[in-house]
């Protein structure tokens, strides 16, 4: 299913925040998690995740650190900040409101 550019962009912030709420993570793993959660329906252009992450970091919603494992390449890990948690809660309410609104009208359409 093609979600369209705007919807993908709009949903990227709550999705990334929600995934990071599960624990700290890095870009590739976040993309994989999105694919899992959406059964492969939500296809992001991989590269585009990074500007989003950097924006969230600038807004103070996520924090990052570079972790060098004993073997292999170092990675940039992102985790949710306190402000990020609050923003996630606000996002959740917004999306639920949209969801409730749409459900009502669709329910009415079904009944009618």
């Amino acid at each position: 299913m093609d979600l369209g550019k705007d919807l993908v962009a709009a949903s990227s912030t709550p999705l990334v925040l929600a995934i990071l709420a599960e624990g700290e993570s890095y870009g590739y793993a976040i993309i994989k998690r999105v694919k899992e959660l959406s059964d492969g329906h939500l296809q992001w252009t991989d590269g585009m995740l990074y500007p989003v992450l950097h924006r969230l970091e600038r807004q103070g919603l996520v924090a990052s650190k570079w972790v060098s494992p004993s073997s292999g390449r170092r990675r940039k890990y992102y985790r949710l900040t306190k402000a990020g948690r609050a923003e996630l809660e606000a996002e959740r309410r917004r999306w639920q409101m949209v969801d409730v609104t749409l459900n009502r009208i669709w329910l009415r359409a079904c009944l009618a």
Binding site: T45, D46, Y50, P51, R55, W66, R73, R74, K76
Partner: protein
């Protein structure tokens, strides 16, 4: 999980990384982050059964268009596009130690040039002193250009033994201009002073191109370098002026008048050191100003064309002849040089494959009107010579105008050919760069042969 370090795959990833690194909106860490992602993706795809090159292609495709990506990064990190102006902020391919060495070398050379101009003061020659003015005017080039030449010899890794002959023109010129028995305020001395930097600039150019004078666009690079250095130098001079003004103002506030600091130290030392620092900035930051010269060219080509046309119309209308004094002739030569510069920088920034457009017609009009102005100036000089005989000023002006006339005429011919689709644009550029040594050789003739020819008058 990381991809197996196979040669071909590593090379492909290396190329991808190099391509990404050229994007100015991405810094080294972003590239590293994206590369790790790419490697994760490639590794996962290989595990899923794809061949290495297939995995690489799929992973790159999933990464998305790099143009769109760097646009997003630019939106998110707009400050980075500005940061490029700050020294050392960019992630050059060169390792840090090389860059630090270069910084030290440049600073050392700049300080050396700044101190060199103070050496004559040890022997009682004072800057700003009426009697010593001529000495400084004659020798100004020797305090800075050898250091600049040395910088490029070092930077291009030219074998110093192979380019030791570069010192010969400097020594010969220094001996000549100082040994000539010029009388005070002589015309040949003024001409020597004016032409010496032009002659020696060719030596700097030879060091700049580091042995590729005849190949690979080396000369065009030098032309670009010269223009960009000029822009940087003007910027640095503006900053220096502000610094000097503040120095004076602050010390005056506590009742001191440190004119000597500005006159004897800040201005002369700054003027010398700024040449080195400016050159280094051009070398380090080519891409920033590269975009400036074409913009200035586009802006001023119509204005200069208009100036020349209005001037010609006024001359035709009023019938006033050109007054040929040295300053007027110099101004005319400079004007024609500016026209050539406009043509040259427009050529340097032009896409050679693009078809002729309106701007090209405007350029041809500019060249044509400059040609007419040059011919008028030549006629004025020639009539003056036939009436009153040869003087060094007139002969120098005659030579320069002839040189410019030849260049402009042939440029106009090539440009017209290009507009009619008969010649490639590259021919014009090749002609301009091939002509470069002519200016310097003529300048050298004026410096070295004119004084004895005209009895140092």
């Amino acid at each position: 999980m990381s991809a197996r370090s196979d040669g071909a795959l590593e090379e492909q990833i290396g190329q991808w990384r190099a391509y990404l690194r050229r994007r100015r909106a991405l810094d080294a860490r972003d590239v590293e982050e994206l590369e790790t992602h790419l490697r994760d993706q490639v590794g996962a795809l290989i595990q899923a059964g794809l061949a290495e090159d297939e995995a690489f292609l799929v992973a790159v495709k999933r990464m998305g268009s790099l143009d769109a990506l760097s646009r997003e990064f630019a939106r998110e990190h707009s400050e980075r596009l500005w940061k490029q102006l700050v020294i050392g902020a960019d992630d050059d391919a060169a390792p840090k130690t090389v860059r630090r060495t270069e910084t030290l070398v440049v600073l050392a050379l700049a300080v050396a040039a700044a101190l060199a101009i103070k050496i004559p003061a040890l022997f009682g020659l004072k800057i700003g002193d009426q009697n010593d003015e001529a000495f400084y005017a004659r020798n100004a080039s020797f305090f800075v250009l050898p250091f600049l030449t040395g910088y490029f010899v070092w930077k291009r890794h030219t074998d110093p033994r192979r380019c030791a002959w570069l010192a010969v023109p400097f020594i010969a010129a220094a001996v000549a201009v100082n040994a000539f028995p010029f009388t005070h305020g002589s015309h040949t001395q003024a001409l020597s002073v004016l032409h010496l930097p032009m002659a020696l600039w060719l030596v700097v150019g030879l060091a700049y191109v580091g042995g590729r004078w005849f190949q690979g666009g080396g000369r065009m690079d030098f032309v670009r370098f010269s223009g960009e250095l000029f822009i940087y130098y003007v910027l640095i001079a503006l900053g220096g002026g502000v610094l000097t003004a503040f120095t004076m103002m602050m010390f005056k506030a506590i009742g001191m008048t440190p004119d000597w600091i500005a006159q004897d130290w800040l201005v002369p030392c700054g003027a010398m050191g700024a040449v080195l620092v400016g050159s280094w900035l051009v070398e380090a930051k080519q891409s920033v100003i590269e975009n400036m010269a074409p913009v200035l060219t586009r802006l001023f080509t119509p204005l200069f064309t208009l100036l020349l046309l209005v001037f010609l119309a006024t001359m035709a209308w009023t019938g006033r002849p050109i007054d040929i004094q040295r300053n007027v002739l110099i101004a005319f030569d400079l004007l024609l040089a500016v026209v050539l510069g406009l043509v040259l920088y427009a050529a340097s920034a032009r896409d050679h494959e693009a078809p002729p457009n309106l701007f090209d017609r405007l350029q041809l009009l500019l060249i044509a009107s400059a040609l007419v102005v040059d011919a008028l100036a030549l006629a004025a000089i020639a009539s003056r010579i036939s009436e009153f005989g040869f003087t060094p000023n007139r002969v120098a002006a005659l030579g320069e105008n002839l040189i410019l006339l030849v260049n402009l005429a042939w440029s106009a011919w090539l440009y017209a050919g290009f507009l009619r689709g008969r010649a490639p644009f590259g021919a014009l550029e090749a002609w301009q760069t091939a002509y470069l040594p002519v200016y310097s050789i003529w300048a050298a003739i004026v410096v070295v042969l004119f004084p004895p020819l005209f009895a140092y008058a």
